[in-house]
Symmetry: C2
Subunit: 340 residues, 2 copies
DNA sequence: CTGTTAGCGCCTTCAA
DNA sequence: TTGAAGGCGCTAACAG
């Protein structure tokens, strides 16, 4: 029992050879036994497992990683952690990876290509099994260049290389769902107060809305290009204008919940009741904005947690040799409250 | 140059012995040279470094970790990633750790003690150099029990053990700053529409507000126990009541920006102008709520990014053998907009 | 079924 | 100043 090696005393960890000795077998046998390998007598395995347990043995992660390809670690690079959209995605991903079995190395690139390269470099140094690249917007982004054969999955911001595996919310569908909700409620004069035109999300949502309207034989009131900023102010300003210019207006699709809040605000000031006079629907279903507004806001939920989970799942499968390449536009859903 | 070992071909990584051979020295010398150790002739080192560079040599992380205490990895356990407060903290922490030099293993415990234990267990297995425990609220939490001598720093939620190193925003100061702003602007009838009483943040802010008022010889209008929920609805309801009950009311401190939004809403409906008739100040400086409200909201910023950075810094120092124990209440700051 | 022998890639004595 | 040898803890051949 005397420490036979320098360092044993302070570093209390039991090693495999300790276990082997305690069980009266060789290290190799102990290894096989603990790794549920074949060719080990049941009784021997029991003995080894008992020894391992009593010594509170935990295999040394690094020794293990040293001679096996897998490290059970995946890397996650976000371009902007300060982005509320990435949170649910991370959550979903974390979820899919399962507690304890797979660890996540997180790195934030601050929306800076150099930092991203650097971070990915160090992640690769740590032999991650796979890489999840989380974008800041849904605008396509250049693929990361990785020499090694590490599977990569893009989330939120898809890769410009359509052969890469990318997961992004279906914003066209989102637009359609929003419009459909209004149309089915009998609304016929619908305006779209959109976000910034440089965002794919804004463009896609607009596309979805107009597509749906067209199928109903209707055109967007106020035109298709009411692009502005992603904020309340723009929502307020723009809503005031369209609502005044079009007295028959009976619905507004807002490019985001944030914009929608501004829209609601203006409508109230104009004396238009929501939803009786004018219905309003937003995007994102950001409950801090949507749940307790006056009235509570009907919105399209982008299913971000699901998105993260799907991407993570795909990454795990890719690691296991079953890659799912290409762009995956994940489904979104309508959340009905009172505004539409 | 022919691959002398199985696996060399597919696994293109150059090893130290490759470098040594290329430089015409032994592995030992190469090691010393690259690690800036003494006892290496300058010219030899140059040669080795050149060889390493040309072979694009990166030391094997695991081999290195196998016989050295440091892994340059720290663990970060959040109790609830879905919490908007943790994001800036993570950012600040990531920042303090520096790009590339220190990697972050992220684990989300979902506010579940069992999951937390499990995650910490696996983190320890990976020999993290230190652990950052990020809480969901500022309520004190039981310390994690770690057998090994891994430094731990608590952020946002401090440890109940005051000997542990904890970093949390100074909510009492926050309350004082909010009150002071109003008092200095000449307000004398001030109400506090607070959040949930079970939150230390709500209690501390209340304490700060009353302390400051007391120093000015004033008592809180409407009493000290207007606790409710952290939401707009409560802000609306409560503001309507106090404002009606106290016609002389000239300021409201809202327990959070979210509450403040409800307060603003009610005041507008009651025809009280902000800030002319009644001033309003919130907490959190959550710009999505505060920046574009009508009028824009004056708020107390909790300096979360700074908080995260400070905590991370402390962790790094602790790892380097210079622990900073005890509770650190970090400074917060007033952000003036138009509502007060 | 079990044990012996070789490494994985690196670092660290200790001789030379 | 350099190099040879041993070891970190584990797994993967191959014998026995």
């Amino acid at each position: 029992m005397a420490p036979d090696r320098i360092g044993r005393i302070e570093e209390g960890r039991a090693t495999l050879s300790d276990v082997a000795r305690a069980a009266g077998v060789s290290v190799a046998t102990a290894s096989k036994a603990l790794n549920k390998r074949i060719h080990v007598k049941e009784e021997t395995r029991k003995r080894v497992e008992a020894a391992a347990l009593s010594l509170d043995f935990t295999p040394n992660f690094f020794a293990k990683a040293l001679n096996s390809a897998r490290t059970n670690t995946i890397g996650m690079v976000t371009s902007d952690l300060d982005n509320r959209f990435v949170l649910p995605i991370l959550l979903g991903a974390e979820d899919a990876f399962g507690a304890g079995s797979l660890s996540v190395l997180l790195a934030d690139a601050r929306d800076d290509a150099m930092r991203e390269r650097l971070h990915i470099e160090t992640l690769l140094t740590r032999k991650i099994d796979g890489l999840l690249v989380v974008g800041r917007t849904t605008n396509p982004r250049p693929p990361v260049s990785i020499a090694a054969d590490v599977p990569v999955v893009y989330v939120y911001a898809p890769s410009t290389d359509t052969a890469d595996a990318s997961f992004t919310p279906d914003n066209v569908l989102a637009g359609r769902l929003a419009a459909r909700r209004l149309l089915e409620a009998g609304r016929r004069s619908i305006a779209l107060v959109n976000g910034e035109s440089s965002y794919a999300a804004a463009q896609d949502r607009a596309r979805g809305v107009t597509q749906e309207l067209r199928e109903w034989g209707i055109a967007l009131t106020g035109g298709e290009s009411l692009f502005g900023q992603w904020g309340e102010r723009w929502g307020r300003d723009c809503a005031r204008l369209v609502a005044s210019a079009h007295p028959d207006l009976d619905a507004i699709v807002a490019g985001s919940d944030h914009i929608a809040r501004g829209v609601l605000d203006s409508l109230e000031r104009l004396g238009r009741r929501v939803p009786d006079d004018i219905a309003v629907v937003g995007f994102d279903n950001w409950d801090i904005l949507a749940a307790e507004s006056e009235p509570p806001l009907t919105s399209i939920d982008m299913n971000l947690e699901h998105l993260g989970r799907a991407a993570a799942q795909a990454l795990v499968e890719a690691i296991d040799g079953r890659p799912r390449t290409g762009l995956h536009q994940e489904v979104v859903r309508l959340v009905v409250r009172e505004s539409a």
